[in-house]
Subunit: 243 residues, 2 copies
Amino acid sequence: MTKTVPTGILYGLGIGPGDPGLVTVKAHSILTRVPVIAYPATLEGESMARKIVAPHLDDAANLERIEIAIPIPMVEERDPGREAYDAAAQEIAPHLNAGRDVAVLCLGDPFLYGSFMYLFTRLADTAQIEIVPGVSSLTAAAAAARLPLVGRNDSLAVIPAPLDDGEIIARINAHDSVAIIKLGRHLPRIRKLIESLGLEGEARYIERATMEGERAIALSAVGDDAATYFSMILLHRRGEATP
Amino acid sequence: MTKTVPTGILYGLGIGPGDPGLVTVKAHSILTRVPVIAYPATLEGESMARKIVAPHLDDAANLERIEIAIPIPMVEERDPGREAYDAAAQEIAPHLNAGRDVAVLCLGDPFLYGSFMYLFTRLADTAQIEIVPGVSSLTAAAAAARLPLVGRNDSLAVIPAPLDDGEIIARINAHDSVAIIKLGRHLPRIRKLIESLGLEGEARYIERATMEGERAIALSAVGDDAATYFSMILLHRRGEATP
């Protein structure tokens, strides 16, 4: 493939769990020089990712910057998300072809339940892509709960709450430490599963780790209506952190 | 407990997987102001953690800084490690009591297989401790392999290689994505296990992610003598990243 103009680099930019201080030095450097940023947003244009990096963008306030909001429908069906990422890929590609670097903001890490992977699969064949890993909400939640997640030869399972009861129970039973993510409306069901295993005393609920309004409490103290998008349950079955 | 002097803060400081750029802005800020840093080292005093943050320490080259190397015996028995952390806790405590903040450098994240948890358990009752999460080698390896780790409702297992064959096979079978860590001398055995499951074609080997000498290749292309301390295998059983 011959190119007359050097193409821009597409950055999958991990920006961490919420605290702007948990953006990496490398991500900060990229944010203060790229001419195009893109980020997931609500249909109304609100973007948590954009908010997290705002102080860093201000460090290069004079930079002329194009911003692309990617409106993601918050529904469980696949098709609306597919269309949003198709459209975003089409909006980003011309910037790359014109030699402009584009940073796509990703909450947490781009490849750990990050939406960037949907752009990655769409653009990997034609664009030069660099993944910049970020701090995950998983370890941010453990820090908020003051709960060492895994040590020594403990194994860890990360389990999305929408899975079936049987799948969740089997995975909990196979591991020492467990993180249950994407709680949302599944919280009451997950709580019952954990109770049925006799593990409620071991479970902690963490919400908005490193963000304003962070809380980390015993699962038993949480109301069934509590779960937000930024929440998870951490659970230790056994395992220990003392050498 | 009455204290006449404000005690120092003990930071469990995640410094990321190896690239100094993957240190967070918050960790950088702490590194350039704390009067005491501590870090794991070999018995000969070599410290990968100290090396990673060296450029950041240079940003405050005029700061008088006390350095505590924690010599960790690289053996599988528990007792030598126990003694090293006992001694380190005893060396750190007087600085905190004298009001000096102490940052303990942790490769990756302090609570995800991080050695900081051993100091945490020893000092949590008497010291004011703040955990600063860091970028994990897990997602750095996925980035190096250009391999989205988990998306949507995929589940993830992180499995230490020293576990028994049966425990490893059960955990691989229960998940969509798998990371096998702490390979060391277990690499030939783990490779055979993966072959016996017919999954060798899905497995990638990543070494020294984000460090000098990084490589990410098919597991089938790796020699049995290859595994270093900074290596892991990533494996996708099913799951997919396209919405």
